[in-house]
């Protein structure tokens, strides 16, 4: 789960990291009031979960409260890469002498936490990694060991931080590590970590992603997760306990198992179609779960055909087929539905479907082909 910049900064402040003074606003008037309270030039920053908001015009500097109000009114409601801005962070504008990078994430291959620092801040770290990998200093640390300020200072020096920034930067990076472990983050990043003209080290931008698997033990993020799903369908899926990702096509997809569903999306694309979603109903494919999933898919007005791809393993295909039919009937499916069953007793399962309005497909490619044709209005 990604946190917004203002939320990430609030958490970082709790761990002792210095950030610009600021508050979040939902209206232009609020933004003006915050700017007046701060009494200095401010940055007005769109709070959306996409990169490149600066380039899209989602960040502006204002020298007066009035100007802050105007900028906020321009940015609020703006659409940045498909997301509507509903909140802006209004904070004191800081003039940078230098911009560094500090970030902590999971190194999957090494099964470790990796702490990174670079003297090239303010740009995408992946870009630095590709262009000048030697400009990034890294340390691999076990969560059991911890990462102390003295270790962080060495890292900052190795990354080429200015000597006068190393003390505070080291403290903040060590704080960031404590935050990472205690809050169960999978990413904690300060970019840029600024050395201001006034000689202060400040987290000018902040990103935190919390490990979804750990949200259960952090009640405060649980509450955020519920209010934060931006898409109504994703919010509904979350409420129904379904693993759902909205995509941009018109074929609703339901399958059991993440790998199988991903392969189904690929097969649809190979046939020239586009899936409307990823939806994994997990093992077993019980009738009540299928019904729940079908109801969700049918709330999506874009869906012109549905493709259900199920592997019957422990549950036999004939049982899966009757479950599917019962679910489809109780939901009242209004678009063509292609069902592809594989696994134990698949012939029997397919035979059960043959007598119905459901299109029984032979294999994954065949199912994808039929679903694509039906979504395009063709005859199967």
């Amino acid at each position: 789960m990604k946190l917004h910049e203002y939320q990430a900064k609030e958490i970082m402040r709790r761990y002792g990291v210095r950030t610009p003074r600021g508050e979040v606003a939902c209206t232009a008037d609020e933004a003006g009031e915050i700017a007046a309270r701060l009494g200095c030039a401010v940055a007005v920053k769109a709070q959306v979960h996409v990169g490149g908001r600066g380039k899209a015009g989602g960040i502006a500097v204002a020298t007066t409260p009035d100007e802050a109000r105007c900028q906020a009114s321009r940015i609020l409601g703006m659409n940045i890469k498909g997301l509507t801005v509903t909140r802006v962070l209004v904070e004191e504008a800081v003039k940078a002498a230098r911009e560094y990078y500090a970030g902590i994430t999971i190194d999957r291959a090494r099964r470790s936490i990796v702490v990174m620092a670079s003297s090239e801040g303010g740009v995408d770290i992946e870009e630095v990694a590709a262009r000048a990998p030697e400009k990034i200093a890294r340390a691999w640390v076990s969560p059991r060991e911890g990462f102390e300020p003295w270790q962080a200072r060495s890292l900052a020096l190795a990354a080429g931080f200015d000597r006068k920034a190393v003390g505070a930067a080291g403290t903040y990076i060590a704080s960031l590590f404590r935050l990472f472990v205690r809050e169960d983050a999978s990413l904690a990043e300060i970019n840029p970590l600024m050395l201001s003209e006034g000689g202060h080290v400040i987290a000018a931008d902040a990103k935190i992603t919390i490990d979804d698997n750990a949200i259960v033990r952090h009640p405060e993020y649980q509450a955020l997760a519920e209010e934060d799903s931006e898409d109504p369908l994703e919010r509904e899926a979350h409420r129904r306990g379904l693993t759902y990702v909205k995509l941009d096509g018109d074929i609703g997809v339901i399958g059991n198992g993440a790998g199988l569903v991903m392969a189904t999306l690929d097969a649809i694309s190979a046939e020239g179609g586009r899936a409307a979603n990823f939806l994994d109903i997990g093992g077993g494919a019980r009738a009540d779960v299928v019904r729940n999933a079908l109801e969700l898919i049918l709330m999506d007005g874009r869906v012109k055909a549905i493709l259900i791809n199920v592997f019957g393993g422990i549950t036999r295909c004939d049982e899966v087929a009757s479950g599917l039919l019962a679910a489809a009937e109780s939901v009242g499916v209004r678009v063509p539905m292609v069902v592809r069953l594989a696994g134990t007793r698949e012939e029997e399962g397919r035979a059960l479907l043959r007598e119905t309005s459901v299109v029984a497909a032979e294999g994954m490619a065949d199912a994808a082909r039929q679903a694509v044709a039906l979504a395009a209005g063709g005859v199967h």
Binding site: I106, R108, A109, R111, S112, I113, D124, E126, S142, P143, R144, V181, D184, S186, D211, D212, N213, A214, V216, R217, T243, V245, L247, G255, N256, G257, A258, G259, L260, V261, M262, A263, L265, D266, A267, I268, S269, A270, A275, F278, D280, G283, F311, G313, I314, A342, G343, T344, G363, M364, A365
Partner: protein, 291 residues
Amino acid sequence: MGIFIGDDTRLVVQGITGREGRFHAGRMREYGTNVVAGVTPGRGGADVDGIPVFDTVAEAVRETGANASCVFVPASAAADAAAEALAAGIEIVVCITEGIPTLDVMNMLDAAKARGWKGRVIGPNCPGLVTCGKALVGIMPGRIFTPGPVGLVSRSGTLTYEVVNLLSARGIGQSTCVGVGGDPIIGTNFVDCLAEFEDDPDTRAVVLIGEIGGQDEEDAAAFIRENMTKPVIAFVSGRTAPPGKRMGHAGAIVSGNMGTAESKMKAFREAGVPVADSIGEIMRLVMDALK
């Protein structure tokens, strides 16, 4: 022979008194796995369908000679259960549980290394493994497997079943099939399995089923190029997955330009590993490899 488990596997089921644990203990026994014990703290002395239950893994090992474990414990306690099994000297710990916090898994694996525990963890968030005709540990549907020369390693459960089902239907049997799990941090990766398959006399070819996220497939490609004499066939799912979205598995996420299907397929092709475009094509490539 097969890899990791076989005739000599003596299994303890952790969480055997729960719904999943009990159900799958029965399935595994039905397949022919020697299920010797169950563990649920506080339920020692009980018996589940004739399987004796102990309070600790150490006790189960002492009393029954268990050498493998299968973890069906809820996510909040599963990493701890795996650590208990490793500490008791269990050689293969198969962790089925999904949703364990990433740092818990990292801590468990790191503690094992620091303390010199020798056992191997498979998973978490995995369907387990089967050495065909000998032993099944986990939740895979036993009846789709047939003994034969193809080893299989995969990050996905149902995609494994899909491929196995097609292989079996064509009369191509399997040696061992391992689901390594869909989490970002897992105890056993593709390279670990490939190394075992290379040394396994019963395995003549290997099917590797990867997906987006991480760099396990890229590492596997490098390993195959340098160390493997047996043919490997690769498949990668998630080619059309959008970046930044977690596709079901916690580990299946493209971040920036890292972990894309293109990068993985390219790595395999450059290592001389044939990459199947579809599930169906895997069959053709396997048949070619076995010729």
